[in-house]
């Protein structure tokens, strides 16, 4: 059984939980992702200034 996540454990503010791996490739937020893809294909990315070396 999955352990309940404890917000009150102040020893660590971050903790690894590999059970979250199932969400990496799961179809989620599809509407938002499609909209983001649509916007990016239209406007692209900002023009970045080349950094002086």
């Amino acid at each position: 059984m999955k352990k309940k996540k404890n917000n009150n454990d102040k020893r660590l503010m971050v903790e690894i939980d590999n059970s979250l791996e199932k969400y990496v490739d799961m179809p989620l937020f599809e509407e938002k992702v499609n909209e983001a893809n649509r916007i990016l294909s239209k406007v692209g990315l900002p023009k970045e200034k080349k950094k002086n070396k």
């Binding site: 996540k5 404890n6 454990d9 503010m13 971050v14 903790e15 939980d17 992702v33 893809n37 990016l40």
Partner: protein, 146 residues
Amino acid sequence: MELPRYKIFYERSRRVFEFNSVGPKGEISKLIRFTKMRVKGVFNLAFGDKKPGTNEIDDEVVSNNGDTRRVLATVANAVDMFTREYPSTWIFAVGSTRPRTRLYQMGINKYLHEIVKDFEVYGLIDGEWQKFRSGIMYEAFLVKRK
């Protein structure tokens, strides 16, 4: 600057994060995911409430759990962790609704002086990206670690 935030759980690739919001509505589990976009080097940031007993995530629900600042600070922490792992990627973000986009905008505005120390921040307006400036209503945001 250390803002109050929730403890965050993450998996190895640091593309999925989870935390629990605690407030008057009880404990609400929230999931953050960075999704690879078709444009190379860009990930979409989305987060929402986990529906209990399912794998579904609702990114339109308004939790009203009285902890908006703490939630946004926790999401910002996830952005920090993600961009340490993938320092050359852009993060695209837009709210699921206009009010939510405005809420993100207010969050960026409030801490812009701190954010710009480590990140480049752009806002989308009239089909163009411009350096984020206070007082302008943007349609979407792009962030990249400097």
